[in-house]
């Protein structure tokens, strides 16, 4: 008990000067200090707590040369500038769509990512997919017959990607370059892609066990594949990056990133 008393007095010795110190300090200083403390705590909470907001990321994917970068700049600036070359790095930007900048009202900016289509750069797509609110898969409808297989393979990889399947990321398959006379129609492209994916389904499911990636099966077993079977929404649209005819893409984006 004595020890206790002893300690108490010791504590008193320490606390008393502090009390006096506090009393002595002007009120304003005290409040400022407290205010600062609160602000710091609130601020750090903002920073540290994970954002639970809905994502506003839209990804542009597709083979090299399908016109993703042009679309990116069409959506951002409403112009394709002096043209583009093969991308080596993703283009990223958070902005309000160009067509909406004239309109009144407040628009929610979109985080648009243009992922290069070169096969060596494909792994980059995995970095962006988990945060995607929607994906625009761009197809070159002019050269479609030559790239059909490669395009279907890439699309298959995207549609079976874990985060796409889990989060049911909506996919817009965009047939680009429709300004050209010889471009294929979107119905034709849809049919061809379905056919190709059907074949891939057969060959891919058997190698999936050898591969390290956990793949998800696409479509309903025993039935020919159709995009309507996939769990996430897959729709088709047409656009022309060069002439700036991108209204269908904008519509799609606004469907999933609410203004």
């Amino acid at each position: 008990m004595e020890g206790m008393e002893h300690w108490k007095s010791k504590l008193q010795e320490i606390v008393n000067p502090l009390q006096q110190q506090i009393l002595r300090t002007p009120d304003t200083q005290l409040y400022t200090a407290i205010g600062m403390l609160i602000i710091t705590i609130v601020f750090s909470m903002f920073v540290l707590l994970p954002k639970r907001k809905k994502s506003n990321t839209i990804i542009l994917a597709g083979l090299s040369g399908s016109g993703k970068t042009v679309l990116f700049y069409q959506l951002r600036d409403g112009s394709s500038h002096q043209g583009t070359v093969t991308s080596m790095e993703p283009n990223e930007g958070t902005f309000v769509l160009h067509s909406e900048t004239d309109k009144k009202g407040k628009w929610k900016p979109i985080h648009l990512v243009d992922v290069p289509g070169h096969s060596r750069l494909r792994p980059k797509l995995d970095d962006f997919l988990p945060q995607a609110a929607g994906l625009v898969y761009v197809v070159d409808s002019l050269e479609f017959l030559f790239i059909c297989r490669a395009s279907a393979e890439y699309l298959y990889d995207i549609l079976t990607n874990a985060s796409v399947v889990k989060k049911k990321v909506p996919v817009l398959i965009l047939c680009n370059k429709t300004e050209k006379v010889t471009a294929h129609s979107k119905d034709f492209i849809q049919k061809q892609l379905e056919k190709e994916i059907e074949k891939l389904r057969a060959s891919r499911t058997v190698i999936s066990d050898a591969d390290m990636k956990s793949e998800y099966a696409l479509g309903i077993p025993g039935e020919p594949f159709a995009f309507s079977q996939s769990r996430n929404r897959v729709c088709f649209a047409e656009a022309s990056g060069l002439t700036g005819e991108v209204s269908q893409v904008e519509q799609f984006i606004r469907e999933y990133v609410k203004p």
Partner: protein
Amino acid sequence: MLTTMASLLIQSPTSMLKHKVHYVNQGNVFTCMALSTTIQSRRRGRRKYGSCLMAKASSSVKEDVLVKELSYISVSEKRDIGVISVHHVGILCENLERSLDFYQNILGLETNEARPDDKLPYRGAWLWVGSEMIHLMELPNPDPLTGRPEHGGRDRHTCIAIRDVSKLKGILDKAGIPYTLSRSGRPAIFTRDPDANALEFTQRSSPSISLYLLHACTAVHLSSSTAIRTLREKERRDLIVLQLENRYRNMLEQFLIFTRGGLVLWACRELTKALQGSPIDTLIRSCLLEERSGASSYNYDAAGVAYTLKWTFHNDFGLVFVAVYQRILHLLYVDDLLSMVKREFSVIYDPNRTEYGGFDDIYRQLRMEAEARAEELKKSSKLGGNTGSKKQAQTQKGKYDQGDKKGGSADLKNDGGNDDLDKGRKVENGHVNWGRSDEEVGLVGGVNGGDSLSSSNGAFDVNKLQKLRAKGGKKTDTVSTKGSKAEPKKKMTKKNRVWDNSPPEIKLDYTDPVTENRDEKSKFVAADEGESMMDKDDTISSDSEFEEDEKMENGAKVETKAKGWFSSVFHSIAGKANLEKVDLEPALKALKDRLMIKNVAEEIAEKLCESVAASLEGKKHASFTRVSSTVQAAMEEALVRILTPKHSIDILRDVYAAKEQGKPYVVVFIGVNGVGKSTNLAKVAYWLLQHKVSVMMAACDTFRSGAVEQLRTHARRLQIPIFEKGYEKDPAIVAKEAIQEATCNGSDVVLVDTAGRMQDNEPLMRALSKLINLNNPDLVLFVGEALVGNDAVDQLSKFNQKLADLSTSPSPRLIDGILLTKFDTIDDKVGAALSMVYVSGAPVMFVGCGQSYTDLKKLNVKSIVKTLLK
């Protein structure tokens, strides 16, 4: 319409263009364009003064041309239909044989065999005139045969440039063909062909052509007939080169500035000539993205064109600068121009801006400077001795880098002095002085550095010099522009230092650059303790050096280390302005060693490091990171990129595709001896069988005893058919029969086993090439063992090389994929996978990792990369 030479001269270029268009409209096959001029005009989109030059036939002075160039630019921008050159001249004749006799036997023109003459409804022939052609057409001639002006110069005519008019005169005399000489006394001769079409032959004097010829002669070590042919080709080429180089300096086909994201920011508008094919995209896809950006140039070949592309990066802004020019022109100024444009462009660059219309003028100015410099360099290199040893040049290079870097100090006076030092050095070496720095800096004192350094600078290699200049020039000029221009430069401020740099410069020459670097740094730190905190560049390099090279026992003093550690902490927190090559070097070296420990071929490790350095240099260093970790991250990215297959490696998909077409899918296994071709063939067969594909084996190893029996054993165990024809048969034929057999019995896949062969064994490689070309398999699988180190490069490159060289078809089949065997025996030394993929560009399709049939895997790129960098 048919203007004579003289009248052409006084006409405005615009009206000439009209004339030309008029020609075309009329469809008149006779043109009075002198063929010789096509050589000059073909180069540029601006052809107007190309034709002006034609008028100024023999001796147009360069300055003259430059003046013209400037005054005509406005015209050319307004009207440009994208003219390239005169392609051919059509000449009508009554009797093709008679005309051919004249053109071939008397004039000695060669026919262009490549051009078919049977596609047209009338008979004809194509004759080469330099790089252009004459098209002889057997058609009724609307022109009268009589009553034409006697002198061909007054008639519509075609002019061919030749080297010796007097010789032709003799030939014509002998053949009894009438001719007239030029009225104005030019060395030109006018004559008519059997159909009275007027021809002019004008002599083009080219004094140094003999020099070029000599060069051509020495360069050719071929059999005599080929030599003559090549010589002729070269002669023709060199003539073009010579004339072009004499007349014009601007010979770029295209100059582009674009972001790494792919947006073109600026394209040279003067060079309106459309590129053939898509060299830029090809460059990016097959060079820059394949981690080959450490190379200095890239050659692009497409139908009819051969371009060379050079590029440079601005890594901090993520910009790429690309220049495209015709391969035959060895443009010396391109490197220089690239670095100058890079420097100037980075000043005006703004990430939010996408139009740089105002850059046109700056570019034009830069180009002219670069050209002038290259010109002078060429002249001086002819005079000066080019005997400097490589090593010396390298030491010099190191010195320049350092000197220049330190030259970027804050006070103008100091850097001016340094600039002069550099200048002095260059002048003294018999090379060009910096016209630009002179103008812009305008500082006094030009020779003070030159004298003190004269002893240490010998003559040196010209090629090296070019690089040196580009490098040194880049940096010094940055400083000088800063000094003179008012434009703010945020990036530059951090680099500034206030050191006197003369002592190390003089010293450097004696030692190997690396050790010198180190010594110098420690010395500096010791001497200038008070200031080293400011000196971010150098301390970071010394500290990263010691972090990385601790095991390598560097001789740095304790003092240095302590300082290094402190500043390293400081740096990692503060972040550093821009990464310099010097900062990267130690980290890269450590990384290279690590790669080599993992069994990556040295050559490959070296190239990779260069490429990574190229991608990092000048980049902003992020806060809270060390240089080594930045480098490691970049390397990891590069490795993932390399190992990710370029095209799909889904064999089953391909098998199904082949099945649809009703033919078997043929896989040929090739490789050196004892790597496990047959064993892994059996494993692949087993894997295919599991996926309900019917497989057939073809025993085309007709060389090694027991090979067929070995395969037969596998076939029996796997219960699959085998096609064999015993030994001593031509494997190509056996394979062909096997494929026929498979087509008949409906097998989906044919696996062709071949004999193992060393890559240097010519006869066996020839046999392999024959097998592959004859059967055109769907997949050529190179089987290589994972144990191999430096030899991997040799094996793969030689196999590929031999397949390409020994092939008779124009598009030879190369290796499509790699099967890596004995992967279970190598622990973490997985470097062979990287070496092989890098060398061939083909993906690793399978990995063999054991003795049983099931031991076949796919390559896991991520784990390989992890292991490599562990």
